[in-house]
Amino acid sequence: MTAMTAPSLTRGLLDGPGPSFGDHVVVDGPLPVVDLHTLVQEAALMGRGGAGFPTATKLRSVAAAAASTRRAPVVVANGSEGEPAAAKDATLLLLAPHLVFDGLALVAGSLGATTAYLAADPALLPALSAHLADRSDPVGVRLHPVAYAFLSGEESALCAAIDGKPALPRTKFPPVRERGVGGRPTLVLNVETLARLALVARGSTLAAASMLVTRRMEIGGTPWVDVVDVPLGTPVGDVLRLDDAQAVLIGGYAGTWVEAAEAAQLRLDRDSLAPAGAALGAGVLAALPADRCGLAETARVVGHLAGESAGQCGPCLNGLPRIAAALELLARPLTPPSGLLRDVKRWSGLLPGRGACSHPDATVRLVASTLRVFSDELARHRAGRCRGRSARPFLPVPGRPQ
């Protein structure tokens, strides 16, 4: 039995004994001084916020922007989980907040940042504030409450919100990496990415090669939702119980549907998912039970996504509501108006690449996979039948205030 003085190299993100600073120091040891750029490059860490952007590239470009503008950069830990199906960021902030703070301290130190923020759900902030009081980081962390909205975590919207402006995404030029919070070069990293950095810095080889997954399924008719730390490359069939599932939503509401049999074989990493048109996204895996209608489930989600458009770009503001309304009709066990399906496909083709953010692109991708995976259900609806047997919605959608 070895004493817990050396940090555990196999520690998962969520299996610490408790969230307190005392537990954290015992399990993980103090934060070492490291050359972050080299370390991140070697670990090939990809961002865990949804886009899967290489963290090393982001670090480098913020450092370059800071050097060329001679302004101290800002670092932001992004814990604003606007995706209703995801719970991994909130879970991480509850169970291992000090790994996230460690990650923030590492990037702040490495970039010479003088300002650090952690953005999260207001409900999480009191506990986080108490945890912060136990630490003595050179760069103090300011907590920023995030309004609950699908786009609130988009990095330019988040920077705008921190600046006290409306939380709306803006165009990609100039990028947030060059001009973000207060007009300064800004590094926005997902909280999971930061927690993984904290473990990578301590020599963990597994940290960069695992991901947090929010699992949603039904076991014996009972809803099951949890967050697990899964090694990249694990087959989806080993993560989810798929006996009673018809399809898997991979990546969340900005993700794609894949038929259950195909999904079971898919390995959870970027390169294996790409041929199936899927991506890790926000780390959501949802196994749709056999007694639900995939069209009705997606129609509800797309209705929510359309309403969450920032309303700034014409194609998104006009395109998504039409697609959502059409899906609503297609989700009914009735013969739809002629040409409706063709219209949905045509509108879907008009949206990608035409918004300031990728909200329309992602929604259209979800719709395309829905029409592909649930094509037999579309035929069943035309014949006046539907496989939906349960009245309980499977995919969560927050109620819109009326």
């Binding site: 409306p166 209705g303 309303g311 503001l317 039409r322 959502a324």
Partner: protein, 206 residues
């Protein structure tokens, strides 16, 4: 002889420039309202706004140039940039000078638009609503031949068009919900339209 040519040239470029400025303002409000002109895609409306604006500025250069060169009136180089210092009808000419200064600002900020903060560009661009009345009043006070007939009709037509377009832009702005409410409203209205089979209206994003 040259004096007459200069006078005609000055008068013609002044009037044409005012007409084109009016057209620029009207097109600008159409761009602002994301409106359409039959047969033109939206980006072409924006291009037209820009090019008609540039053309009016080009005519203005001739207008100012002929006024300076024409020895019949005492308008020097300085008074084409500094208002109210001209020897000839200083007030009326001064209004035109102010309009020229503003137009120069609007023009330069628009050409540099991609390199300026959007808000600065917008604030300067909105002075066009001041620029146009200045040019208009300059036209009817400095002009020497506005007794009646077709010219008067033309100028009144310009005023009517610019006023109508500005009011329409203001009304559209007031009728557009804030961005936070737009999408939810669009979803409700579109969903209702689909279930009743009625045509869906276009939602404006600003």
């Amino acid at each position: 002889m040259t004096g007459v040519v200069l006078w005609y040239l000055n008068r013609a470029t002044g009037i044409t420039s005012l007409v084109l400025m009016t057209l620029t303002v009207v097109l600008g409000t159409v761009v602002r309202r994301h409106g359409r002109i039959p047969g033109l895609p939206r980006f072409a409306v924006q291009g037209l706004h820009r090019n008609v604006g540039l053309l009016s500025a080009l005519l203005l250069v001739t207008h100012v140039g002929t006024a300076i060169v024409d020895s019949y009136v005492d308008i020097g180089v300085s008074s084409s940039f500094v208002p109210f210092v001209a020897g000839y009808r200083p007030f009326a000419v001064g209004l035109g000078t102010l309009a020229v200064d503003l137009l120069l600002l609007v023009l330069v900020t628009s050409l540099l638009r991609n390199h300026l903060p959007l808000r600065l560009w917008k604030a300067v661009h909105l002075t066009s609503y001041l620029l146009w009345p200045l040019a208009f009043v300059h036209g009817i006070t400095a002009g020497t031949d506005l007794g009646g007939g077709w010219l008067l009709v033309l100028v009144i037509g310009c005023a009517a068009a610019a006023t109508w377009a500005s009011l329409a832009a203001l009304a559209a702005r007031r009728n557009t919900p804030p961005s936070a409410e737009r999408a939810a409203a669009a979803v409700t209205v579109t969903s209702d339209a689909f279930s009743t089979g009625t045509p869906v209206r276009v939602f404006r994003n600003g």
